[in-house]
């Protein structure tokens, strides 16, 4: 909401103009452009998204010492910022993974013809940590000792508030939670993301999660992470799992420093379902043939929109819901 300025409007105008130019080229492009015009609100968001992306690209003054490392990380492991090929807010397309390249010719052929996707939640589904844990890691690694201690204490003190907010709404939780990122520099987040993955996320991957993703890849389905976590946190994990795409929240940056706001629409709860639906429309995928994997009742709407929902390590409410709908329930723990 706050990120939607006159600059966004001009970005929106430019984007629509680009789309209209493209529309003259091919019928497919015409179709795509129509789709973009139809998503007026989302176009606005996309504009904000692009602005933020540009903001991220500009190296902040205080981050010069990590610039080289940041570039190296971006070159070697992460998709470009803003992500190339992204069609939706929060969407990043990853380069083809080794895991996908190593598939058998038979599975490659399936992949070429499949119109299914597999959508994975992350926290509690593929890994046993959550966004609070990840932020705790950032907070504890703020650079200056005092700042680090203050941030960590703030996260710990905020846990009951976050918990209560999560009980009310996952979106409210995320909105409150991401305010904690205010003031963190973009390059710092990117630089720490690899470390966070190695030290926090990788050891927390559930036994069996990689197997499940691999099986799913073998069906030919496109592999997509849909998460309420911020994109920096999740991209190394996505690469590790050989994902094709990531749909995640993106922080708003001004001059390379996080404002504490998330670029709308916030990916959480029901908006995950909208993101999944929009992704399928944009990528010409069959929602009914697609898989969904989530652990929490907060994400049930994402499971409800796909044809092949699965509750993974479900909480009590999702387990009951899955039972009542006869959805498969998998325990990867």
């Amino acid at each position: 909401m706050h990120a939607h300025t006159h600059e966004d409007d001009s970005a929106l105008g430019q984007e629509q103009g680009r789309a209209q130019e493209k529309a003259k080229e091919t019928p497919q492009a015409q179709e795509r452009a129509r789709g973009q015009r139809g998503l007026s609100v989302r176009d606005g968001m996309a504009g904000a998204h692009d602005d933020a992306g540009e903001g991220m690209d500009a190296a902040p003054e205080g981050a010069a010492h990590t610039k080289g490392r940041l570039e190296a990380l971006q070159d070697a492991r992460l998709p470009a910022y803003p992500p190339a090929g992204a069609k939706l807010p929060g969407h990043a397309r990853l380069p083809t993974s080794k895991l996908a390249e190593e598939m058998s010719p038979r599975d490659q052929a399936k992949r070429a013809t499949s119109r299914a996707a597999a959508f994975y939640d992350v926290d509690g589904t593929l890994v046993s940590t959550n966004v609070v844990h990840a932020f705790g890691y950032y907070a504890a690694n703020r650079g200056r000792l005092v700042e680090s201690a203050v941030r960590t204490a703030a996260v710990v003190a905020g846990i009951p508030v976050f918990w209560m907010a999560d009980q009310v709404s996952r979106a409210l939780f995320n909105e409150l939670f991401y305010k904690q990122y205010k003031g963190i520099s973009h390059d710092r987040l990117v630089a720490l993301s690899e470390e966070l993955f190695e030290k926090v996320l990788k050891p927390a991957i559930y036994p069996g999660a990689m197997d499940m993703v691999q099986r799913c890849r073998e069906t030919g389905a496109r592999q997509v992470i849909v998460t309420g976590a911020i994109d920096h946190t999740i991209l190394p994990l996505a690469r590790y799992f050989g994902m094709d795409d990531v749909i995640a929240n993106r922080l708003e940056f001004v001059d390379g420093v996080a404002t504490g706001r998330v670029i709308k629409p916030l990916i959480a709860g029901a908006t995950k379902a909208a993101a999944v639906r929009d992704f399928c429309t944009a990528e010409d995928l069959d929602l009914a043939a697609s898989y969904g994997f989530c652990d929490s009742y907060a994400d049930y709407s994402m499971l409800a929109v796909v044809g092949r929902p699965t509750a993974v390590n479900p909480d009590f409410r999702l387990r009951s819901f899955a039972r009542s709908h006869d959805w498969p329930v998998v325990d990867l723990r």
Binding site: A118, G208, D211, M212, V213, R215, C216, E218, T219, Y291, F293, R308, T310, R323, D326, W327, P328, V329, V330, D331, L332
Partner: protein
């Protein structure tokens, strides 16, 4: 006074004007129904007496095998041995303890230890069946074996372990022979069978129990099923068994397999429930009172509790034969004994055949329901196939089944059944289309694979196999009528007609088959295998 007239065999009686009503299984309940005069009722044979000392009989068999050296002579220190056993899909219901598998394992492990064989793994040969819970495994193998081996050296076969399978080759029909890697890499495989029905054992054990989806595709398909006469007559015209034999023979060219097969009697009911195996005309006043008391109790008990009670009453099966050695001679001997127990001579086929469907099938031990697909497989797959020679019902005849057909599934055990039953079957009941259009999707669904590997679920493809399994019955009978279904949609999805009472079902069947149609009821369970002349 005996009012029924005896026909061909003492187990076959004909209903007369004064005959008592007959008891039929009806899920977790029973029906008591009058049958039309002239109806044949086929009863199971009386149980053959069990061997007085089963452990001694097992030891004797190991020391006097058929077609190979005694087991002790084949054992050397340092060798790698894998023992494979069947899962709890048999016997039904679970037998009283000690289970025959427990006795066989205790004897085998002691013998192996005595000969310095230390590298021993025990694999429960589930193929694509569900993994058992630890408690179920302990009950089956006994506390001693469980304590010493579970879960390191006593575990389930995992048909989806990416590194767990090896392909030994292909048969001349192109069937891939794929088996569990640990078993394939062993110096000796000892397969300890519990042969509950004639379909069990033989080359099916290694070729099916230790294989995976790719291996099963060779014979678990509509074509093989349609080309199979009776599943219970392995020596008869059955493509299914020919495929098992081809696969098993090729496997044994590469592997050293030592087979132990055991036959049990049909003492399914014991103690206060023993009257259920009797001819109703021979009921004493006490039997009638017991049945009334049972009916009253069941009427006051919720379905879930009735299931629990039924599942927890073990059968009194006893060992009646054990042979060991090479697969084919051993299986031949066990088949003889099995037919001695189950086969009943019947003169001529029926126009209308009646079967009561009980609460249990090979695929729902300890499940919360006998789901509609399993009702189907019990009727058209198992009960229909309990014959040798010719089917008990004529081609185009009517099969009447009694079951509530409740739309209930155990989603822990049968998650993919729900999708198959509610999404695929309403679209088509054609098994060939299922195999071409849907089978791979179900077999490769990652959620179902993980539930099979890490939970207690049947493999994703299993519901399709259940439908294929009913295929030869479906191709043979003209109509299926289910009595007492508690809903309309399950029979409709299965392609069956409904009747409120048995009398109504028989009237409907007679309208198809004529007023003089021959009606036969099979008084199961225990098992009756009809030798139709």
């Amino acid at each position: 006074m005996r009012l029924a007239k005896e026909l061909e065999a003492p187990e076959v009686v004909t209903i007369d004007k004064g005959s008592a009503p007959r008891i039929l299984h009806y899920g977790e309940d029973f029906l008591l129904e009058d049958l039309p005069v002239g109806t044949r009722v086929i009863y199971p044979k009386q149980p053959i007496a069990g061997l007085p000392n089963p452990r001694a009989a097992i030891r004797w068999a190991l020391n006097h095998p058929l077609g190979c050296d005694p087991l002790p002579a084949q054992l050397k220190p340092g060798m790698k041995v894998t023992i494979a056993v069947d899962d709890i899909s048999l016997p039904l219901p679970a037998m009283q303890r000690p289970d025959i598998r427990q006795m066989m394992l205790e004897i085998l492990l002691e013998m192996l230890a005595d000969h310095g064989v230390e590298d021993v793994h025990i694999i429960i040969a589930i193929a694509l069946h569900r993994k058992m819970t630890a408690a179920e495994v302990e009950r089956m193998v006994g506390p001693k074996v469980f304590r010493e081996h579970w879960p390191q050296t006593l575990y389930h076969h995992d048909a989806e372990d990416p590194d767990g399978m090896v392909e030994l080759g292909k048969t001349r029909h192109g069937e891939p022979v794929r088996i569990n890697r640990r078993a394939a890499e062993s110096d000796l495989i000892i397969y300890a069978n519990l042969n509950f029905v004639p379909m069990n054992g033989g080359h099916k054990s290694v070729g099916v129990g230790l294989t995976d989806y790719e291996g099963l595709k060779a014979n678990h398909n509509p074509h093989a099923i349609r080309e199979s006469w009776s599943y219970m007559d392995p020596q008869g015209p059955s493509e299914l068994h020919r495929s098992f034999d081809r696969i098993g023979r090729l496997a044994e060219k590469h592997l050293n397999v030592f087979k132990i097969e055991t036959a049990v009697n049909n003492r399914m009911y014991q103690g206060p429930m023993e009257f259920l195996g009797k001819n109703e005309d021979d009921f004493t006043e006490g039997d009638r009172l017991k049945f009334q008391a049972l009916k009253w109790t069941l009427s006051k008990t919720p379905r879930a509790m009735r299931r629990e009670v039924f599942m927890r009453v073990p059968a009194g099966y006893e060992l009646i034969a054990v042979y060991a050695g090479k697969t084919e001679p051993v299986h031949e001997k066990i088949l003889e004994k099995s037919f001695d127990q189950y086969a009943v001579q019947v003169k001529g086929q029926a126009d209308i055949l009646i079967h009561g469907i009980p609460f249990i099938s090979p695929y729902n031990a300890n499940s919360t329901a006998l789901n509609p697909l399993l009702v189907q497989v019990m009727g058209l797959g198992y009960l229909f196939n309990l014959y040798r020679g010719r089917p008990l019902v004529k081609k185009g005849g009517v099969l009447i089944l009694t079951h509530p057909c409740t739309d209930a599934f155990d989603t822990n055990h049968h998650p993919s059944y729900v999708e198959f039953f509610h999404k695929v079957l309403p679209e088509t009941r054609d098994a060939v289309i299922h195999s071409q259009k849907y089978e791979e999707d179900f077999a490769t669904n990652p959620a179902y694979i993980e539930m099979y590997r890490r939970g207690n679920a049947f493999h994703g493809v299993h519901p399709l196999y259940m439908w294929y399994w009913g295929e030869n019955g479906r191709q043979h009978v003209g109509k299926v009528i289910v009595v007492g279904a508690d809903n309309a949609h399950v029979p409709r999805i299965l392609g069956w007609e409904r009747a409120s009472t048995l009398a109504e079902a028989i009237a409907m069947a007679r309208s198809e088959m004529g007023r003089s149609a021959q009606v036969t009821m099979v008084h199961n369970a225990p098992i009756v295998l009809a030798d139709v002349e």
